[in-house]
Amino acid sequence: MINQALDMGWPALALLAGLLIYFQVSISDPAAKKRATFKTFIGMIATFLLFVAIANYKENFYGENRLLPVSLVMLTAASFMMALYFANLAALLKIGGAMFFVAAVLSGYGNWLPQVEGGFPPKEEKLDFSSMTAQQLADEGEKIIFGGIGKNKEQGAIGKGQCPLCHAFHAGMLGERAPNLIGLPERAGKERLEDPKYSKGNPSKREYAQKEAFTGSGTAENGQEYIAESHACPSCYVVAGFGVKGTNDKESPMPAIHKPPISLSLPELAAVDTWLYVREGRDAPSFDEIVKSYEKFIPEADRPKQQEEKAGPASALMADGTEPVDQIFAKAQCVACHTIPGIPGATGTIGPKLVEGTNAPSRMKDKEYKGTAKSTADYIMESVVLPSAYVVKPFPDNTMPKVFGQKLSAGALKKIVDYLSQVYEGKEPPKIS
């Protein structure tokens, strides 16, 4: 970083050095000469600190290094130091220093807190739910609800369906915003349908914001249909105490699940419902039966269409970015050719060892470098997507496939770049995330 700071800041430092020499030659009064020399020296230290701070930003901005606020502390120190010796600018420098300090504290606070990153939007992939077994379907359902198999007891786990934002799923857990869904398959066909307020078979008697999911849809006749109706038309019946505030439980805060922003397709809803049954050890209705229950309450025009599979092999991603970085390296087969410190099994020798934190800066300056990257992160991205931009000697060109730009999602590429930019020769590799 010091080298990079000197690379960037040498003209300014040279100018100050020139001034230093000029003062030595032009000032005859020893006291004045001493003062000028001292001030120039202070200026040089402050300038150096400034460029180290900039280099820190430049190098680590995308790496999301949590020590970036240190740059602001350096600028704070530089400002106050300058203010001590440059009386005519003291007020401005002190104010600047105070502002840098406030920003440093707040930035540091933000970096000190647990780092939660919102993932990429859920990948829209086409799965044939209809031919799955009940367990496979339940697994897909768990993924939709919680984002992964086995995540249902994990605090904060959330999937495309967003259900855990409001619902609890286990005994003893309190969902203040929506009912706990433990025991729903049994409760649905008994308590709910028998509740006079539900008005089974007579929707016109309902006193809710909506009487029917759509005109003529009627009410549920069994437990599964009740579940389907509550997904398709949450305001057709509201469990006491869980309505929108001020509506006297006449309107539900829950969105219709088949509509944006959640937009689950009927097969996806079937998967979700199957999980609700299977996780309690119950036999779930068949896929077709569940889909039919939804068709009763969602008119054809409103049914979300399943994503068309994109033509061509480009859509088949090797990694979508939700995996840990070691799995991304494995899925993309990087480990077969490269040695990557910190990645288990990455001991390949067909390509160069990937210590890009050390190598990238010097390679970008190499005469044979044909790319456009200006930072380590850009260089890594470029070398993955356009491997021929720079070919490390003695490895031959055109060995590495040039399809990773299409085969890896943006999230996966970002994770690769983040990881490799922190790998330095002779240093501990970064943690896998």
């Binding site: 104010i95 933000g110 409001c166």
Partner: protein
């Protein structure tokens, strides 16, 4: 025609020109709006089978009058890019424009208030000081105004260059009012220049009232301009006036008047004022610290105080406006509210809570320091330590989180979803108690400041003092009692407790201020306020206030924008760029700091440019002897 009459005629003509400028965009837009309104009818007659769509928010039917929202794909057509993250570039351009925009919209509002105060003040010296202050303010904003326009241009180019499909879609939706927006900007510029350059020509009597009327018109235009800009933001968060495919349904009012538009308008208006106060206070602090003479120090000390007082006056209602906005967010989409307050973005709200606390602590600190320039205020100094204790307790409770997204290991280490001890302070009941205690204590600090160098001479002074003391004590007891009660009652009842808590705080604010003003009327002065005789530390408190406010604005803007997650327009137009994920808290904090510092470096440059302009010699101000200066409004 005499000189005075000619001036009057010219002033009235200028005022008419401003009214004309205000009405011009409306008149020009009428035909297009009319066409827009008639279009469905005409279409009905021509083609009874015209395709209809259902408004996603208003649920009304309308004839489809636009193309669906484009389904973008990652590539140079929809997301062209430089060798840099496009979202970060746009973030920067947007934030800078917003900072400057907020500042230049807030300052004329200040000017209007201060000019009015100057006009109604009987003390001529004080009136001149107010007038000079308002003039100084508008002079600062004039230079920033050009920069705002330049940044607006840069923002549009950034949109066009990096997000052409998205910007094209938004422009197509807002096309019926795009030209109004542009014309309003022209009108704003015209009125601002007339207002500024007419200052010396219209400084007395009837002409001054005309001048003040101009500032009213200027602010009406500015506010409408901001409301129009907010409608874009509101549409992106809570779209209306389009069907599920994003097709425009011919009713531009529905597009503008979305679920979140009104709360956003109020929140931004108040926020701009508090922010503007902070910027001017920082400017005054800078000038104070750089002052060479006692006269200058006295002037800028006073200026800093007025700016701070105005800023804080709008800061106090800001949390309540924020509360309304969040309530509307929850009413619009519950999962959006949860993502904000209890999900992905919840840690950012912890930072926000920390910052609100910092703002109030800085304000209190400044007021305690400011008491040092009053003879007689020493009697309050010994009690300040108790206020510090109360503020610290309120602050610690206010910033304690409740439920957070955690890893299983963290969850295990904590022994549950909430910390066994601190978790108790994280609930809303405790937080409401914390923030109300902080605001009430700030009110108490203000009351002490206002009576710092005075002794009431009314016959019921003793009773008044006891009454005020009991009132504050009861307020604290009530707020804390309701906070404790909240633990023992159901959640739906607990929510309602915030109303009496807020009512208690506001009662302290309005009733105690009013009572204090009555008690201090004709009060015996222990000594003058010695403007300029205040510690340098107090000025750093002002700078802290300004920087923290700028940071908080950046933070809240980021939160508001991020809550759309991977939608350009919520639920209508999906973001398919490589940047459709949400950054970590740390990255956001670094980026906000960068924006804040860039703004401050550039605005300090603007201040410096302003100082180069020909100075309107503040002769009247310097003539006033520090210490014998008339009291600033709002202070006594």
């Amino acid at each position: 025609m005499g000189l005075v009459t000619r001036k009057k005629v010219l002033s009235i003509m200028a005022l008419c020109a401003m009214v004309g400028l205000l009405l011009f965009p409306v008149v020009v837009s009428l035909p297009s709006l009319a066409i827009g309104a008639d279009a469905p009818d005409a279409a009905k007659k021509e083609d009874a089978k015209a395709e209809k769509g259902r408004d996603v928010y208003y649920k009304t039917e309308g004839v489809v009058a636009g193309a669906p929202a484009p389904k973008t794909v990652d590539g140079p057509r929809d997301y062209p890019r430089y060798n840099f993250e496009s979202r970060v570039l746009l973030w920067f351009a947007n934030q800078q424009h917003l900072y400057y925009g907020s500042f230049v919209l807030a300052v004329p509002l200040f000017c209007m208030v201060i000019e009015f105060m100057g006009m109604v003040t009987k003390d001529k010296a004080l009136a001149k000081r107010y007038d000079q202050l308002a003039y100084d303010f508008i002079k600062i904003s004039l230079t920033a105004y050009s920069l705002t326009a330049v940044l607006g241009g840069i923002l549009i180019f950034t949109f066009l260059t990096l997000y052409p499909a998205f910007f094209g879609y938004l422009s197509s939706i807002f096309r019926p009012v795009m030209h109004i927006y542009a014309l309003m900007f022209v009108a704003e510029s015209g009125t601002l220049y007339i207002y500024y350059y007419g200052w010396d020509k219209m400084k007395e009597g009837f002409l001054k009232w005309i001048h003040l009327s101009m500032s009213v018109i200027l602010n009406v235009i500015g506010t409408l301009l901001m409301f129009l800009a907010n409608s874009w933001v509101g549409f992106m968060m809570s779209p209306a006036g389009v069907d599920e495919q994003g097709r425009y349904l011919g009713n531009i009012w529905h597009v503008i008047h979305t679920a979140l538009w009104n709360p956003l308008n109020i929140h931004r208006l108040l926020g701009n004022m508090a922010f503007g106060g902070g910027v001017v206070a920082a400017y005054a602090a800078y000038k104070f610290l750089a002052s060479k003479t006692d006269e200058d120090r006295a002037h800028y000390d006073w200026m800093g105080y007025i700016a701070m007082a105005l800023g804080v006056a709008f800061l106090i209602p800001l949390p309540f406006a924020g509360y309304w906005l969040m309530r509307e967010v929850y009413a619009y989409r519950q999962q959006m509210g949860i993502t904000l307050m209890g999900g992905l973005l919840a840690w950012l709200f912890i930072i926000q809570a920390t910052m609100i606390g910092i703002l109030f602590l800085s304000t209190n600190y400044y007021l305690w320091q400011a008491m040092g320039r009053m003879r007689g205020a020493e009697k309050y100094q010994r009690y300040i330590k108790y206020l510090v204790f109360i503020l610290a307790c309120g602050y610690m409770v206010f910033i304690t989180p409740h439920t957070m997204v955690m890893t299983p290991a963290e969850l295990k280490a904590m022994g549950g979803q909430q910390h066994p001890v601190l978790g108790n302070y994280g609930v809303m009941s405790a937080k409401n108690g914390g923030i109300n205690v902080i605001i009430t204590t700030t009110v108490l600090s203000f009351v002490w400041y206002m009576r710092g160098n005075k002794v009431s001479t009314v016959s019921w002074a003793k009773f008044g003092n006891i009454f005020m003391g009991v009132f504050f004590a009861c307020a604290y007891v009530n707020i804390i009692w309701l906070a404790i009660l909240g633990y023992y009652i159901p959640a739906n009842v607990r929510v309602g407790l915030s109303v009496p808590q807020v009512a208690t705080t506001l009662s302290c604010l309005f009733f105690m201020f009013a009572l204090n003003a009555v008690m201090m009327k004709g009060a015996k002065q222990m000594g003058p306020i010695e403007w300029g005789k205040i510690s340098a530390r107090s000025q750093y408190a002002l700078i802290m206030l300004a920087t923290a406010f700028t940071w908080m604005m950046g933070l809240m803007g980021y939160i508001r924008s991020s809550v759309r997650l991977f939608w350009h327009v919520n639920e209508i137009m999906r973001d398919n760029s490589p940047w459709a994920y949400t950054h970590t808290v740390g990255f956001a904090a670094n980026m906000i700091s960068f924006n804040v510092l860039f703004f401050w470096v550039s605005i300090l440059f603007v201040f410096w440019l302003g100082s180069l302009a020909a100075k309107k010699a503040p002769v009247e101000v310097k003539a006033a002897v520090p210490g014998s200066a008339p009291q600033p409004a709002g202070s006594h």
